[in-house]
């Protein structure tokens, strides 16, 4: 993290085009440096934060006097920073029998602030919780004395969380956990406090500003949605391909513990709604083995929305994951123990957040905690299901990627097609496809509902509507064929159109097998096709040639007597051809 002086340099940079937001800071100690740092950190998240602050100790007046500057500023965000030091001085001034009332008095004053603010403004309130000060008047006995300062301070922090849980626009910013992490010695410098009324050291100001801006950014919809994980030495110790199942490190012993705890953290993120993906240089079956068989593995395959294991470049694989999930790169976090891979990803796709994981896996979690990567401002039941929803969408593409052989992939899809003539039920959809299909449409002649109805009822036509479903889901109707009995020998393919969603699945072969069969059964000798070029159907210009039709004048002709069914992995579900 940049230090305060480095951050200040941002203030001179150009904020044009950044999201604008008005922030008011109300503090009971000096907040000038914090205010500058908040604007400076905003720069790094493309936020143009116009931060206005009151002179310190003006909180009450600014809030209760509705003609104050606060209301004139009309902020989007109001940060209220009442420090533990001032809380202690309030406590000191109370009489001994009032000491146990400190927390409830303070809470009701905070509730009143919030009530007045919510009535006059739509601003969201960010309240800094209290950093712990133990005055050691009771020593360890403080826990048994509700009137002790430590007891009251902790009670107040707890009450703040309760209050936040019930009040939509009231957010607590956890500066207390920052002090826990960096230590009070770093957080608070007595000389700065005594001389300048500042309770935050210059060292810790960037941390506080950053955590505050995380919250503001999340309120503006700027947060992470997806965590992508490397496997070897990231999710477990060792290399699965070299060390094998029994030697990779996980579980309760030694460094294995670090990986297990790391996995539990990821599992909690997944349950919170973060999409989890895997991107590993491995053979897929080998990479999946621990997920399926290792007894200490916390994460299961069904926790992973997209699983990519191959030997390709990781930046390309991340692009693949991005396209499958269809979320922005700036919402993705990539964790990898290998500095080479990190640097490759960072330099190729700079929008992706790539934390510099520490060398020692024992340090992973503490380091990641310190980054506060997964800020959010909402949480609902749906979040728990998110990975499952994305998983279904992602599976088909992922599966395709994992098959070296296309036939194996197609076979694995368990595709089925329902083939029906035009009926009153499907006529509207047939007409719609006829109107809308541009690319895979051999003659591109458009038919209306009435036209389609005519073909359905006419003795001179065979009509087919095809659906396609596979193990992942149903694509619905995706192909339409209209055959015209031109003469006793020839069936003319008046219409052949398909949805581009199902390209490269062998659907063309399935359809041709079907209509060649129809021709044969009904005593026709030839299928006759025609390609009429349009500005959009270039992709099918070689369609009939590719399927083995022979050129004949302006048309294409297939001798059905000698036709052998083409290879195809689609099974017919149900057929009801009208004759």
């Amino acid at each position: 993290m940049k230090d305060f002086f480095q951050l200040l340099k941002n203030l001179k940079k150009d904020f044009t085009g950044f999201t604008n937001c008005k922030v008011a800071v109300l503090g009971d100690t000096s907040t000038q440096f914090l205010t500058q740092a908040i604007r400076a950190v905003g720069y790094e998240k493309r936020l143009d934060l116009n931060v206005w602050e009151t002179d310190f100790n003006q909180i009450e007046r600014q809030i209760y006097d509705t003609s104050s500057e606060l209301y004139a500023v009309h902020p989007d965000i109001i940060i209220v920073f009442q420090s533990a030091h001032i809380l202690l001085s309030k406590y000191n001034k109370l009489s001994t029998d009032e000491h146990d009332m400190l927390a409830s008095n303070e809470l009701s004053s905070i509730e009143n602030y919030y009530a007045v603010l919510s009535e006059k403004l739509t601003a969201k309130v960010i309240y800094y919780n209290y950093t712990e000060i133990d005055d050691h008047v009771f020593g360890n006995f403080a826990s048994k004395i509700p009137a002790s300062f430590l007891f009251q301070l902790r009670k107040l922090n707890y009450e703040l969380m309760l209050f936040a849980s019930k009040n939509h626009n009231f957010y607590v910013c956890e500066i207390s956990t920052i002090q826990n992490r960096v230590g009070k010695k770093t957080f608070f410098h007595t000389s700065i406090y005594i001389n300048y009324e500042m309770v935050l050291s210059v060292d810790v100001i960037p941390e506080i500003a950053s955590k505050t801006v995380d919250l503001i950014a999340a309120l503006h919809g700027n947060f992470k949605k997806c965590l992508i994980l490397d496997l070897d030495n990231t999710l477990w110790g060792g290399i699965i391909g070299d060390d094998g199942m029994e030697n990779i490190q996980m579980g309760s012993l030694g460094i294995g513990k670090a990986f297990t705890e790391f996995q539990y953290w990821i599992k909690k993120l997944k349950n919170r709604g973060i999409i989890i993906a895997v991107c590993s240089k491995n053979i897929e079956s080998v990479a999946k083995e621990p997920f399926e068989k290792h007894p200490d593995m916390v994460l299961q395959l069904n926790d992973i929305a997209v699983f990519v294991a191959n030997w390709e470049n990781k930046a390309d694989n991340l692009r693949h994951i991005q396209s499958v999930l269809n979320i922005g790169f700036d919402t993705m976090v990539f964790l990898d123990d290998n500095p080479f891979e990190r640097s490759l990803v960072h330099s190729t796709i700079p929008e992706i957040c790539v934390p510099e994981l520490p060398e020692d896996p024992a340090d992973y979690l503490e380091y990641l905690y310190s980054l506060n990567l997964f800020e959010t401002t909402s949480y609902s039941h749906e979040d728990k299901q998110r990975t499952a929803l994305y998983k279904i969408e992602a599976e088909r593409k992922t599966v395709q990627k994992s098959f070296l052989n296309e036939d194996d992939f197609l076979k694995s899809l368990h595709m089925q097609s329902l083939v029906e003539p035009f009926t009153t039920f499907n006529i509207p959809r047939v007409a719609q496809l006829s109107q809308r299909s541009n690319q895979f449409n051999l003659r591109a002649i458009r038919y209306t509902d009435a036209d389609i109805k005519f073909f359905a009822e006419s003795e001179k036509y065979f009509t087919f509507a095809f659906t396609l479903e596979d193990k992942f889901g149903d694509n619905g109707m995706i192909c339409v064929i209209i055959l015209h009995k031109e003469n006793e020998q020839t069936l003319f393919i008046d219409t052949w159109l398909m949805s581009c969603r199902v390209l490269k699945r062998g659907m063309e072969h399935f359809v041709l097998n079907k209509i060649a069969g129809c021709a044969k059964e009904n005593g026709f000798k030839y299928l006759k096709g025609e390609y009429i070029p349009t500005s959009k159907n270039e992709m099918v210009q070689h369609h009939y040639k590719g399927l083995g039709f022979e050129s004949s004048n302006e048309f294409w002709r297939l001798d059905v007597a000698n036709y052998e069914d083409k290879k195809c992995f689609i099974l017919e579900k149900y057929s009801k051809v009208n004759n």
Partner: protein, 80 residues
């Protein structure tokens, strides 16, 4: 470190923190002589000097400085 060298480093910190290139510092210089040297700038100066010399001033030390000369003498005592 020689006092002259120390003075040079302190001057560089002043130039950087106050963002003022043509600064003139003597032992007698006080905050009143430099427009940019306000109370916030003073904290930044103190912290920047602490960071540079990896030391820490007590509140009493900070309060005892009347001019740049006092400041430099105090730093010199700490690091010698």
């Amino acid at each position: 470190m020689e006092k002259e060298q120390l003075e040079k480093i302190v001057k560089e910190i002043f130039i950087d923190v106050l963002d003022k290139k043509d600064i003139v510092l003597t032992n007698e210089t006080t905050a009143n002589d430099i427009e940019e040297w306000d109370s916030l700038a003073h904290i930044r100066l103190v912290v920047a000097i602490e960071m540079k010399f990896n030391t820490h001033f007590s509140s009493r030390e900070i309060q005892s400085w009347d001019n740049v000369g006092d400041m430099i003498a105090c730093i010199y005592d700490k690091i010698k």
